[in-house]
Amino acid sequence: MTVLLSAQNISRSFGGLKALNNCNLEVEKGSITGLIGPNGSGKTTLFNVMTGYVRPDSGTVTFDGTEITGEEPDKVFARGIGRTFQLTRIFGRMTVLENMLVATQHDEGWLRSMTRSKSSTVDVDNAMEWLEFVGIARLATLQAGSLSYGQRKLLELAYVLVANPDVILLDEPAGGVNLTLINQIADKIRTLNAQGKTFLIVEHNMEFVMNLCHSVTVMNQGSNLVSGKPAEVRTNPLVLDAYLGGDDEEVEEVVNG
C-alpha cells in the first residue's frame, strides 16, 4: 500500500503549551483511517497543520509524494485535500446551492472569475448531484443558516466532495447528530471509500470508529501513541492508560467498543 498523506515529526506549540510534540501520522491510499485520543491530545491541531490552517514549528507534511508543509489552505484544498470542521462551518446567509458553488474549483485568474457566472449549468448540475448523494437536494434553495445541525454536517460533507478531493479529513462527523444520521453518514463514507476516496476521521464515537476504520492511530499529549487495526488498538494497554487520564466514560467506550 502506498501512503497518500503523511505527517512526519510535527511539533507545534501555542505559548507554553506543546499541542503537538514530534507527531507522526500516515494515511494509506484508499483507506479509512481513524484518529482518536482524549480531549486536548492534539487531533484537531494536527488536522489544522495538515490542511494549512496552522504552520508547524517543525516537521513536514507530505501529500502524494510532494511536501506541502506550510502551504495556504486554499492551495491545500486545490491539491485534493478536503476537510470539515468540528463545529460545522457553512455560509449561513447564502443558499445551500451557493454554498456548494463556492467549493467548485476553477483554476483561473480573478478577471475570468469576475466574468464567469456563479451558476453555470455544469457547476450547478455537479453540485446538485452531490446534494442528492448526501440527501439534502430538496433544501438547495433554502438559506444555509436555516438548516438543522445534522443537515449542516451533510452540507459540509457535500461541499467538500464537490471539488472531488482525493483525501477527505472529517473532524467529528458523528458529533452531535442522532443515530440514524450517524449510520447514514457512515454509509456515505463507505460508498465513497469503495469509489476510491481516502478518509481520515477524528471521532469520539468509538463504535463509529471501530466499525468504519481500517486502521486507527491513537494520540496522546501531542504525539502518536499507537497505530494499528481497530481490534488491536482497542486492547492495547498504552491506549487504556492514555484514556484513564481522561474521562471514565471514554475508557469504558474503548474497552467495550
Partner: protein, 334 residues
C-alpha cells in the same frame, strides 16, 4: 418575474431622466445631482464592503483622489473649461485604483475590526497630505478651469453624466453579484477561513474587490470636483463622507443591489432639501438620527431586505426555520 423586475428598473431610470426636464428649477437639479453622486458612491462602497463584510471607513481617500486628479490634470493641461473635462472622470477613477492597490494590500492583511481602524488611519494621512502639500494647494484648495454655463443650464449636463455613472456602477455591481467572484466575496463575508479552506484565494479576491470599488468612487469624486469648480481638502477628504456612504448602504440594505441606491436617495436628497429650504446645515442630523433609530429597531437588515421579507413567503418560511434552529449558527474552532 424577471421581466417585471426589469420594468421597475426601467421605470426608475425613466423617472430620473425626466426629472430635470419636468422640474425645471436648477435648485432641484442640483439636489438631484448630489443625490446621484451619493447613489454612485454608496453602490460602489457596497460592491466591496457590503458583499465582503469588510466595512471600509476610508472611501473618501478615493473620492478625494478622484477630485484632485480632475483638478490637477485640468489645471496643468490648461484644459478649455467645458464638456471635454468629463473625459477626466474615468481618469480620476483609474488614479484612485492605483492608490487603492497598496492601500488594500496593507489594510486587507488584517481582519474586520482592525481593517476598519486602518482605513480610518489611511484616510487621515490623505487628508493631512492634501492640506499640507504645495501641489494640492494646501488648505486653500484648487480652482479648476471655470465653466461658464448659464445658471439655469449649469447642473443639467452634470445631472445626466452622474446618472450615466450611477447606471454604469449599478450594472457593474449587479455583474459582480452574479459572478463567481461575487460569490466568493459573499463567502468571505460569511466565513473567511472556511472559504479559504474551500479554495477561495481570499486575499486576491478582497484586493480586487477593494480596488474595483475605489475605481468607481474615484470617478464620482472627479465628477464632483468638476461640478464644484473649486475643491478644498476638508470637503473632498471628508470624514462625514466616509460615514455617510456606509450609513446609506446600511439604511437601504447591506449587500443588496437596490439598498444603497435607495439609502442614498432618501438620505442625500432629504439632507440637501432640508439644508436648502431651512438654510440650516445641521437640521438633517435630527432626521438622520431618528431614521436610524427606526431602522435599527424595526428593520436591522435595512429597508430593502425588510420589504423583501415582508413580500416573500419563502423568506417567511426561512425565518421560522431560522428561529427553531438558531443554535450553532456561528461555528468556528481551530
Amino acid at each position: 418575474m424577471l421581466q417585471k423586475k426589469n420594468l421597475w428598473w426601467l421605470l426608475g431610470v425613466a423617472l430620473m431622466v425626466a426629472f430635470p426636464l419636468v422640474v425645471k428649477d436648477p435648485l432641484y437639479t442640483s439636489i438631484g445631482f448630489f443625490t446621484l453622486v451619493f447613489m454612485a458612491c454608496a453602490t460602489s462602497w457596497n460592491m466591496f464592503s457590503g458583499y465582503s463584510g469588510y466595512i471600509a471607513l476610508g472611501s473618501a481617500v478615493f473620492y478625494g483622489t478622484g477630485a484632485y486628479t480632475m483638478a490637477l490634470v485640468s489645471i496643468h493641461a490648461n484644459m478649455a473649461p467645458g464638456a471635454a473635462m468629463f473625459w477626466l472622470v474615468p481618469l480620476g477613477g483609474l488614479v484612485a485604483m492605483v492608490v487603492a492597490l497598496p492601500f488594500g494590500w496593507i489594510a486587507l492583511r488584517v481582519r474586520r475590526h482592525t481593517f476598519v481602524v486602518i482605513t480610518i488611519a489611511v484616510f487621515f494621512i490623505f487628508q493631512l497630505g492634501a492640506s499640507n502639500f504645495s501641489f494640492t494647494g494646501g488648505t486653500s484648495g484648487l480652482a479648476l478651469p471655470f465653466i461658464q454655463w448659464g445658471s439655469s443650464y449649469y447642473f443639467i449636463p452634470f445631472f445626466y453624466v452622474a446618472l450615466v455613472l450611477v447606471i454604469f456602477i449599478t450594472a457593474v455591481s449587479a455583474a459582480v453579484r452574479r459572478s463567481r467572484f461575487g460569490l466568493q466575496l459573499l463567502a468571505i463575508r460569511d466565513d473567511e477561513d472556511r472559504a479559504l479552506g474551500l479554495g477561495v484565494k481570499v486575499t486576491s479576491v478582497k484586493i480586487v474587490g477593494f480596488t474595483l470599488s475605489a475605481f468607481t468612487i474615484g470617478m464620482a469624486g472627479a465628477l464632483y470636483a468638476m461640478e464644484q469648480g473649486q475643491i478644498y481638502p476638508q470637503f473632498v477628504f471628508n470624514p462625514v463622507f466616509d460615514v455617510s456612504v456606509a450609513l446609506m448602504a446600511f439604511l437601504g440594505g447591506l449587500g443588496t443591489l437596490t439598498g444603497p441606491l435607495l439609502g442614498a436617495l432618501i438620505l442625500e436628497s432629504s439632507q440637501q432639501y432640508l439644508t436648502v429650504s431651512f438654510s440650516n446645515g445641521s437640521l438633517y442630523l435630527i432626521l438622520f438620527g431618528s431614521l436610524f433609530l427606526i431602522v435599527i429597531l424595526f428593520m436591522p437588515q435595512g429597508i430593502v431586505v425588510y420589504l423583501r421579507d415582508r413580500l416573500s413567503k419563502k423568506a417567511e418560511l426561512d425565518r421560522v426555520a431560522m428561529k427553531t434552529n438558531d443554535v450553532a449558527i456561528s461555528g468556528g474552532t481551530n
